[in-house]
Amino acid sequence: MDHFARLGLPAALDLEPATLDRAYFTAQRQWHPDRFVGRPPDERAKASTEAAGLNDAYRTLKDPLSRAVYLAGLNGVELPGDGKTIDDPDLLMEAMEAREALHEAATPEAVDALAVRSRDEMTKALAGLGTLFLRHDKAAIRKALLRLRYLDKFAEEARARRTNLQRVKA
């Protein structure tokens, strides 16, 4: 059973956090170990397997990027793993320039400005993904997800850079 089906949700990119929370907590109550105290071992084992599966589903679907990557997998889009370089010169150029700019940003404000811009790009890219899924455009989905991974990584690096700059200031 896939993560969406496990939570009784349609397999789609758009998912309100509140809807996901509700589906998760409802299902989690049903399989809570407390309800299986004193039940036969096979039922207890099933309950704990189900509960673990629900946690896994919730964790995967909660973050929009991880949800998109997972949905892409269900649609037969495979993302490259470790190893060979990605073959997308525009993305690499964009990533290199962004990381250089971040490296040169000398104040928390400068870092924030870059982070905001990259967050906007991320929101735009996620919004565009929906259409690509509807069109089943696998190559475009793959390209967009790789870019999102880089934007996500940039956000992480920007947070780290900001913390460092503040520490120096303090």
Binding site: G81, D82, L92
Partner: protein, 136 residues
């Protein structure tokens, strides 16, 4: 995780950090990236009239192993011909730096980077030859 002394040395004192003019005819640029971790690596070579690599620079945004791998490659390729430089294998890099298994992909990336830089240089050189022939 224990890292080797050679790796730490390259990480703490990276060789040849910087950039060369990517539009220059005698400079080849390789830009590569690891899809899983979001690292990005630029490696450039400058080839002299004698066909030897006279300078190499790199810029890597990534983990220590990625930085050390690219730093080592710039050091290795200097003074070599591009044909020699092309034979550098990721396994040589990994072995020299004693990279842990989870970091082997960083050496793969560095090999990809030097290969890409060489390919870029060759593409420029053959274009130059064509223009020269056309002019004759």
């Amino acid at each position: 995780m224990a890292y080797s002394e050679k790796l730490l040395d390259h990480y703490e004192n990276p060789r040849n950090i910087g950039s060369l003019d990517k539009n220059a005819e005698d400079v080849g640029t390789g830009l590569v990236g690891a899809p899983a971790c979001g690292d990005v690596m630029k490696l450039q070579i400058k080839v002299g009239p004698d066909g030897l690599i006279e300078d190499a620079k790199f810029k890597t945004f990534g983990c220590g192993s990625a930085i050390a791998s690219s730093s080592l490659v710039t050091e290795w390729v200097k003074g070599k011909t591009i044909d020699e430089a092309e034979t550098i294998k990721n396994t040589d890099i990994a072995k020299h730096l004693a990279l842990p298994p989870v970091k082997i992909h960083c050496s793969v990336l560095a090999e990809d980077a030097i290969k890409a830089a060489i390919a870029d240089y060759r593409a420029k050189a053959s274009k130059k030859d064509e223009t020269r022939e056309a002019a004759e």
